[in-house]
Symmetry: C2
DNA sequence: CTGAAAGCGCTTACAG
DNA sequence: CTGAAAGCGCTTACAG
């Protein structure tokens, strides 16, 4: 069935041993340059392809990295995680590695089953992309393999993680709103859903504190249920002048909600998002938001997992990747910095 | 360095040979049920994981499928191809397989280099997702491995392919426009860019022919340059009443173009798209379009490649996956079915 | 500079 | 029902 060429075939053809072929093809010492050249030439002619499984079995490395994405995220925000995965695949290539994408089904997450990439030793390390349940984090900890969390973190910080600097990004963009005269600013997001949403909330909160603004319960608007499904956003009776949304997609949803109630962005209220994904440019007007540096996150994740493979004791802790604000047209400068718009200078 | 448990370790612990362990773990005949149970129990206790590389080397199968996406597509329409890839990964899992995503760089495509997944024998088959150059198709043909094309095809049909029924989908949606009274209908797309765009054009063209409408050059509007980068769409002097766009993203671009010139959809002109991707619901009003059945395409591709692995001579030819029209609000019923709007019934 | 030997972890006949 | 032997394709000491 398999008509595959092996090193032995090349060796027979050239009239040397397979050891010499192995050395030549891997540019190891101990083979004359002439012979190396000849062996390589014959290898190409014969259409030789390395059997990576045989190599793997020798040095105990699969040269694959598993990327585990909880399935419940892939519907919601697929473009983001898939774009991250794509970048991971590109960076992995620079190290001679490949990426294996595995969706973690809700069922496996529930049952605390190991992913098949792990139980079949298909990978040398695992990048977990997107928050998993507390219980499943324990399962991951039990995996005897280098692993890192990407785009979320474990509260006990026992596993290295790489995250967007959510806190600082939200802090900065809230500052920006305040500089534009906003004083009554709501935050949109279920802060118990993911650590990202919570951290962004805290950045927003810090900005409020620093500017002497008081946070009230009515300013926290829920955007999704416990299972992550989006719900209709309930606007407070007294409308805020600005909304900090935990992500662009939610900002997009908010736009629709506002529009259906007759509010115009940014004339009636300003809106900012987070991520700078496709939704940010598809709203009208386009969204001022915090751009997440996907390429840098993927690059850092790959570098980190590679370091752990060569040195399993290596710890990098929590690495923050800075985002940057992208200014568009969803924020309006308010003339009056006071809350009473009726006694403004007119 | 590696503290990995092997079958031998289990065998020692239980007091049998590694052959018996292998049989037990694989549920092969020739081991008493009692012993099987005991071996499996010990395996779990010891945290045993199969070494898939060792298995691979035995049966010559890697249990991986390579998915090759030309990099130039990933920027343009990433969400589509990445979503297809995701579905492929899911279906592959049912067969005990994994997917390895490989981006084909413009450089490799130019140089006609084999992808690394091939030259390192990392995969048992290759799914090429997205059109590659004619020259590179030859390179792919030279790969000694089962392979299929997904979402495009080779003109000589020497390699099996799975595509959306572009022709029929475009034909149907154009018929729909005509039923709504449209007679002056433009097609938006560079018909030399990909076979999909061309086939959709031909479906549109067939619909025109069947309804006795004449196609004129001015009705074919270019949307991208030779390298696939979007360009500004040049509207004809005499405005058509409807536009068939080769994809939703281009429809989205067209909306913007129309809007900047003061035209409203669908009041001033109707627009339809293709794909039913994220752009279709983000336009306002949302787009009537042809939904591509991503799940079915991925499922068919995986099934086909699996068949080829077990039987390399298996041929499936060109498989069409039917789409379906999703009706939204971008098409207006025209009162007058004639071309002279001045003598309509009023 | 070149090669015979051993071994990575598993599975497949084959023998008992 | 159980196991000793051989082998998959490669690489790593080691010997010459």
């Amino acid at each position: 069935m398999k008509s595959n060429i092996t090193m032995k075939d090349i060796a027979n053809k050239v009239g040397v041993s397979s050891v010499t072929v192995s050395k030549a093809l891997n540019d190891k010492e101990g083979v004359s340059d002439n012979l190396k050249l000849k062996i390589k030439k014959v290898a190409v002619e014969m259409g030789y392809r390395m059997n990576s499984a045989a190599k793997s079995i020798k040095d105990g490395l699969s040269y694959n990295i598993g990327v585990l994405i909880p399935q419940r995220f892939t519907g919601m925000n697929d473009s983001f995680y898939l774009r991250v995965y794509q970048q991971i695949a590109i960076h992995l290539d620079h190290y001679g590695y490949f990426g294996i994408l595995t969706l973690l089904s809700a069922e496996d997450e529930e049952k605390l089953s190991f992913p098949r990439v792990y139980s079949e030793s298909k990978v040398d390390g695992i990048i977990v992309l997107g928050q998993v349940s507390k219980e499943y984090i324990e399962t991951i900890k039990n995996m005897d393999l280098p692993k890192i969390f990407l785009d979320f973190y474990d509260e006990h910080a026992e596993i290295d993680s790489i995250i967007t600097d959510n806190f600082y990004g939200a802090y900065e963009i809230t500052n920006y709103l305040i500089r534009h005269g906003h004083r009554d600013i709501a935050y949109v997001g279920n802060i118990y859903a993911t650590s990202s949403i919570q951290d962004r909330f805290l950045g927003y909160y810090k900005s409020l504190l620093e500017h002497g603004l008081t946070f009230e319960e009515r300013l926290l608007l829920n955007d999704r249920d416990e299972r992550g499904a989006f719900i209709d956003i309930q606007l407070p009776d007294k409308m805020p002048t600005a909304f900090v949304c935990n992500c662009d997609q939610v900002a997009f949803n908010l736009y629709e909600q506002l529009s259906s109630l007759g509010y115009q962005v940014p004339t009636d209220c300003s809106v900012v998002g987070f991520d700078n994904d496709v939704y940010a440019t598809l709203t009208s007007p386009p969204l001022t938001t915090v751009e997440v540096d996907i390429d840098q996150m993927a690059r850092t994740a790959v570098k980190s997992i590679m370091e752990k493979i060569s040195n399993p004791n290596r710890r990098n802790g929590r690495v923050l990747v800075q985002g940057k604000i992208i200014y568009r047209e969803s924020v309006q400068q308010l003339d009056s910095p006071s809350e009473n718009s009726d006694n403004s200078q007119a």
